[in-house]
């Protein structure tokens, strides 16, 4: 499994845990209030990615010290990364546009006060989760099944 595939699986696991935590909050706080916490997921993912990055920097450093250089990223990984980013940004962009439509509806019906920071953070939270989710699934799809081929 490549670094990108591992990161994609880690993202999906973290995403699953965040959604489970939100589902657990629903009986305590109510659906709409629990939903506001979705924006916190960006901080969780940032923390996870920094930890992963540090882990790989340390691993590469140790490999160099042992004189065992290891290729973790190459042109194919880069191609998969860019394709997955394109899909992820396209999906989150659609959500941002839909969110803007919602802001506009609120503004026209109830005035500027109705377009709250909470509403904005809800849209950002959903868009971020979709961005990470679509990116991770795209990575796994584009990486394909060739890694199952263990032939020499």
């Amino acid at each position: 499994m490549t670094v990108l595939q591992k990161l994609a699986w880690l993202n999906l696991v973290v995403l699953g845990l965040i959604l489970l935590a939100l589902a657990a909050l629903v009986p305590l706080k109510g659906l709409s209030t629990a939903f506001h916490y979705l924006v916190v997921s960006s901080a969780v993912f940032t923390a996870v990615w920094i930890a992963v990055l540090l882990g790989y920097v340390i691993r590469q450093g140790l490999n160099r010290l042992r004189n065992r250089p290891e290729v973790l990223w190459d042109e194919r990984e880069e191609a998969i990364y860019y394709k997955a980013c394109t899909w992820a940004f396209a999906a989150s962009w659609v959500l941002m546009v839909l969110g803007n439509g919602r802001f506009l509806k609120q503004y026209l019906e109830k005035g500027p006060e109705a377009v709250s920071v909470v509403l904005l953070s809800d849209v950002l939270g959903i868009a971020f989760v979709v961005l990470v989710g679509v990116f991770s699934v795209s990575v796994l799809i584009f990486s394909g099944k060739e890694s199952r081929d263990a032939g020499k």
Binding site: T2, V71, L72, W73, D74, E75, R76, E77, A79, S143, G144, E146, S147, D149, G151, K152
Partner: protein, 83 residues
């Protein structure tokens, strides 16, 4: 596009070169083993620099490792001259 296909003989060349493993080849050309697997199975087309590196790893030219089939004769100019 149907008929446009790049094939390669990396798998055969690895065996001809002392049964070189995918990992050994990957280390020689500076990519991951998964990339070698993807190239061998035709799921990934390498960049030109990587194609040259792969060819050099076997001591061959690029056209001895990769071949392009587009369903057309290889030298249309020669045919035109002959006609």
């Amino acid at each position: 596009m149907p008929g446009n296909e790049v094939t390669n003989s990396i798998r055969r060349l690895r065996f001809d070169n002392g049964e070189m493993t995918q990992q050994e080849l990957a280390e020689r050309v500076g990519v991951t083993r998964q990339t070698i697997i993807a190239i061998e199975s035709g799921k990934y087309m390498p960049s030109l620099p990587l194609a040259f590196k792969l060819a050099r790893a076997f001591g061959k030219g690029v056209e001895e490792v990769f071949s392009f089939e587009d369903g057309r004769p290889q030298s249309p100019e020669k045919e035109a001259v002959g006609a």
